[in-house]
């Protein structure tokens, strides 16, 4: 057995530690002891809190980390909080803890272990320190050499058991920490939160814990729920629900708390608390397996700025879900049907992840309670072609095909058009309302406009007598 004891310096000791919530790494008090335990679970499944220290039993897994020394360095490197990490090792949990306590005091550990350890480093001996001192016992070894029966009668079984554990004569048993299946943390706010901004300050703490949980579970969050308990039953003559909550969703699973924080922030900015809140609770509603992104040396792979879907979600959170539309490629032979503009949250449903996302459709719609504000302008590239579209298609499509002048049987667009390639025939859309699309497409050259994409409506059946009509639908270059 080999144990590592960990302790984070309390903030008052380490004055330099900047544990303000906005900083990149939260403080110990911000993360909470539970989350620190989850963090330690990434090193070994045997983790337990013992008094003020977090104890890790590593004999079975230290080789995985490249030995004890490497493991100790790794612990230091991955420290999740801003405070410094103090570490000590020992053959049993009590020895490791005692050494940690000595280290904190700046005392060198004795040569003889565990017999030489001072008595006040043993938690079980602390209530009896004065008596033991009068008996002349200064170290663990002194007590251990007293008659067993007398010690038990005089000080209770606890002290003797602790010494047995320290000497390895009794099993070192603990209740190991486990990672919960669902993230669900609540805590009482230090002061009643009067407005949403105050909630946000506290929510940061929960988000930090969520991040630790997600990393330990190797999952990304798709939806989280923030819930607060109202401190009043009635306010201004109106009955209040006991709790209020908001749900925040994101299109791609994320472990990035900055994104969730921004989304929460936008949503909270639009939320009015019914009454001051006393408790805050954060819950994971939906998560998905996390596929980590590989890093790249190539500069073009390391894009700066937000990802598109994050921007869209943030805009949606601020302006209302219906107000932000995105282009969605459609499989259709008719060029004008190859993309459609859908509200962002519906577009996610229409995309390739349809089956996965459909379940959430209803809930997403119900949550979209933000008041409609001024219509948002769609911000997306002009032409998002379906995956099956021919590479010969023009990059720019007209919103509506433009009817062209026909002089002496030739279509004109900024001059007489000369057909270069074609025809490409299209006969489809008979099931849709209106005219079926029966067209011959050509790439033509216009003296004024360069290469253009035009089509001729083929006379279908009853229109056979009419002269063919020409349209401009796309532009190259």
């Amino acid at each position: 057995m080999h144990w590592i004891a960990l302790r984070w310096l309390p903030p008052e000791v380490q004055a330099a530690a900047d544990a303000s919530p906005g900083s990149a790494t939260p403080g110990v008090e911000a993360l909470g002891t539970e989350a620190l335990g989850w963090w330690a679970l990434q090193f070994t499944p045997h983790v337990a809190w013992l008094d003020e220290a977090l104890l890790l039993e590593v004999s079975a897994c230290e080789r995985l980390w490249g030995g004890r020394l490497a493991l100790m360095r790794e612990l230091e490197r991955l420290n999740p909080v801003a405070q410094r990490l103090q570490r000590a090792q020992g053959a049993s949990s009590l020895v490791a803890l005692a050494r940690l306590r000595l280290f904190a005091r700046g005392v060198r550990p004795p040569v003889e272990l565990p017999g030489g350890l001072p008595l006040d480093t043993l938690s079980a001996a602390r209530p009896h320190l004065a008596v033991l001192e009068r008996l002349g016992c200064r170290s663990w070894g002194d007590v251990a050499s007293l008659p067993r029966g007398g010690v038990v009668r005089r000080f209770g079984g606890e002290l003797r058991d602790a010494l047995d554990v320290a000497w390895g004569r009794a099993p070192d048993q603990h209740v190991w920490l486990t990672l919960p299946e669902v993230f669900d943390l609540k805590f009482e706010l230090p002061a009643l939160a009067e407005n949403a901004a105050a909630l946000m300050w506290s929510a940061n703490r929960l988000l930090a814990a969520l991040q630790v949980w997600l990393r330990a579970r190797q999952r990304g969050a798709l939806a989280i729920e923030l819930q607060w308990t109202l401190d009043l039953r009635r306010f201004n003559g109106v009955d209040l629900p006991p709790r209020e909550q908001i749900i925040v969703r994101t299109a791609a699973p994320t472990q990035d708390m900055a994104h969730l924080r921004r989304l929460l922030h936008e949503r909270l900015a639009l939320t009015r608390l019914g009454a001051p809140a006393s408790w805050l609770r954060l819950r994971s509603v939906e998560t998905a397996p996390w596929a980590g992104a590989s890093t790249s040396f190539l500069p073009e792979d390391n894009r700066k700025g937000d990802r598109l879907h994050e921007l869209v979600e943030r805009l949606g959170a601020r302006l209302g879900a219906q107000q932000v539309v995105v282009p969605v490629p459609q499989a259709d032979h008719r060029p004008e049907h190859m993309q459609s503009w859908l509200p962002a949250h519906q577009a996610a449903l229409a995309g390739p992840a349809r089956a996965v996302l459909r379940r959430r459709g209803k809930a997403a719609a119900a949550v979209a309670a933000a008041p409609p504000s001024a219509a948002a302008a769609p911000a997306a590239p002009p032409n998002t072609a379906a995956p099956g579209a021919s590479p010969l298609y023009p990059p720019w499509l007209l919103r509506e095909p433009l009817a062209l002048d026909v002089r002496e049987g030739h279509p004109h667009y900024q001059g007489k058009l000369s057909r270069l390639v074609g025809p490409q025939r299209l006969e489809t859309g008979w099931w849709a309302d209106g005219q079926p699309a029966v067209r011959d497409y050509f790439i033509a050259e216009s003296p004024g406009a360069g290469l253009v994409w035009i089509f001729r409506e083929r006379p279908s059946g009853w229109l056979a007598s009419e002269a063919p009509r020409w349209f401009l639908q796309g532009l190259y270059g």
Binding site: A331, H333, Y393, L426, E427, W430, W431
Partner: protein, 540 residues
């Protein structure tokens, strides 16, 4: 060849890549329609090349046989119209299409030998795959004895084309070279120009490829329907295949209706003359007809007595049977009838059929399996004597001509009912006696009926499911010609609003789809028995 090429000043052409609706959920025309249309367009030939199947060829064969008579009848009925031009040299080519992913091969049989190779190839491809699918492999030169077995066939190599997209030219060239090693002068490279934007580029690419590998090019059309107006039905069939509505199918639909049998003037504008002329050369080499199978077919010979001919065996068995049926002596009436029938059977050459059936019935009787001949065979005294039927010819007045006659020239049909719990025993007996290679259960083609067609077309058009259910349940009015009214009433009754145009499309397409083959199934007891390997005659 000049005389074919010259007709009407248009180049001659034979379509070598054409799917009928026996390529389930792909082809949108009956083989009969394809044959008639190609005949009328003055094609020199038409190949029915269903995907890993030859199921459509029989109907095409019969259609072609009956076509001149039908034309003559039509002319007689409408003397005022100009007479239909005859196309005497029209040839029906038989083959099959195989998809290898990067390319497709169309294999056309030269003769009975080639047909046998093709049938065995299909059998092998089908038996190694789950029902309804097939498996063919292209190993690029490693162990392709399967592929090499396709002798006495023309092989058309059709590269896969993603219109406008890039293609892997080196891989294509390697495949083509390998195919050229396998098939030599029987290999052709098909150019299918279907009015895509990059047709010219495609043609130029394949010309270059042909020049590099020495494989001659020919024109073909990847025909899925006989006329352009079948496109909606083609789309519906695609939707059924994809299990979606037509609007959702997107790019799975064909972009245009060019995959039909195009007129020769259209083809002449599209293709260089040599490519069209090469199709005639292929048609000239493939002279196999289904009649050859008929001539070639032999019944299993196990049941013949030692050194006897079929007629002698049948006569012996019949008279022996007659003795047993009439222990007191065969009545004169029966004796005359039997003699008459035996003479006719011998004349038509159906002795072996009677002997084979008698053998199976004798087995069943010996095992105590109840069995009984029924239908028109009950009109035969020979069947009675052989123990197949139970109608005593002495008592009744037999209408033997209903069963078999010289004028009809149709093979006789003897239906025998076996006790159904023990039918499997009989089936196993047949397999044990003739072997798996020479006996097989016949397939039945399951066709779309009014109800299933209503459902499938309704789903493809996105008609409200309640309305589809309502009408599929109660479709007996379907042929009454009052569908529009009934539909309107029904829609109002269950409170569904549908566009009348869409409802009309629904009904029209349903009527077209009705009778289309949908899939193959097993006949409950029909057996095909042969003397030689069965798979040389039909795919199993």
């Amino acid at each position: 060849m000049a005389e074919i090429a010259g007709t009407g000043g248009l180049p001659g052409y034979a379509e070598l890549h054409c799917l009928s609706n026996f390529s389930f959920q792909r082809g949108a025309s009956h083989p009969e329609e394809l044959v008639e249309r190609a005949y009328r367009l003055g094609y020199a030939g038409l190949a029915i090349t269903d995907e890993c199947s030859v199921a459509g060829v029989v109907r095409a064969h019969v259609a072609l046989r009956d076509l001149p008579a039908a034309l003559a009848e039509d002319e007689a009925a409408h003397p005022e119209r100009p007479p239909h031009p005859r196309n005497e040299s029209f040839a029906l080519l038989l083959g099959s299409e195989f998809d290898f992913g990067r390319f497709k091969l169309v294999v056309l049989a030269h003769d009975l030998q080639g047909w046998g190779n093709l049938c065995e190839f299909i059998t092998a491809a089908r038996t190694t795959a789950p029902k309804g699918q097939y498996r063919v492999r292209w190993n690029g030169g490693v162990d392709d004895s399967d592929m090499a077995s396709l002798r006495h066939c023309e092989v058309v190599f059709i590269p896969r084309r993603d219109a406008g997209g890039a293609f892997d030219l080196p891989a294509l060239q390697a495949d083509l070279q390998r195919a050229a090693q396998l098939y030599g002068v029987q290999l052709w490279l098909a150019v299918e120009l279907l009015h895509e934007l990059d047709d010219d580029l495609w043609l130029a690419t394949l010309m270059k490829l042909g020049a590099q590998t020495g494989v001659p090019l020919l024109a073909s059309g990847d025909v899925h329907m006989h006329v352009r107006s079948r496109k909606p039905l083609q789309d519906v069939i695609t939707a059924v295949r994809e299990g979606k509505s037509v609007a959702e199918c997107g790019l799975a639909l064909q972009a245009n209706a060019q995959r039909h049998l195009r007129t020769r003037s259209q083809l002449a504008r599209l293709y260089p003359g040599q490519l069209l002329a090469n199709t005639l050369e292929v048609a000239r080499r493939c002279r196999f007809s289904l009649d050859a199978i008929r001539a070639h077919y032999q019944y299993p010979l196990e049941n013949l007595g030692n050194g006897e001919t079929a007629a002698q065996t049948l006569a012996r068995k019949t008279w022996t049977g007659a003795q047993e049926r009439y222990p007191q002596g065969v009545p004169d009436k029966v004796r005359r009838q039997v003699a008459h029938e035996l003479a006719l059977i011998a004349e038509m050459g159906y002795e072996m059929f009677f002997i084979t059936v008698e053998d199976i019935v004798a087995f069943a009787r010996a095992r105590g399996i109840l069995c009984q001949g029924r239908g028109s065979s009950a009109n035969s005294a020979v069947c009675f004597c052989l123990g197949i039927t139970a109608i005593n010819p002495e008592k009744g007045n037999l209408l033997f001509e209903r069963f078999m006659s010289r004028e009809r020239r149709e093979p006789p049909d003897i239906d025998v009912d076996f006790e159904h719990q023990r039918r499997e025993e009989v089936i196993q007996y047949i397999y044990a006696k003739y072997g798996r290679e020479r006996a097989a259960i016949a397939a039945v083609v399951i066709c779309w009926r009014a109800r299933s067609a209503l459902r499938d077309v309704g789903k493809a058009l996105g008609i409200d499911a309640r309305l589809v259910d309502e009408f599929a349940k109660d479709h007996y009015w379907f042929d009454d010609g009052v569908q529009d009214q009934r539909l309107a009433e029904g829609a109002a009754r269950i409170g569904v609003r549908e566009d009348p145009l869409r409802l009309r499309q629904w009904i029209e397409l349903t009527q077209r789809l009705r009778g289309f083959p949908r899939h193959l199934s097993q006949h409950v007891g029909g057996f095909v028995l042969t003397q030689t390997r069965l798979t040389r005659l039909v795919p199993v």
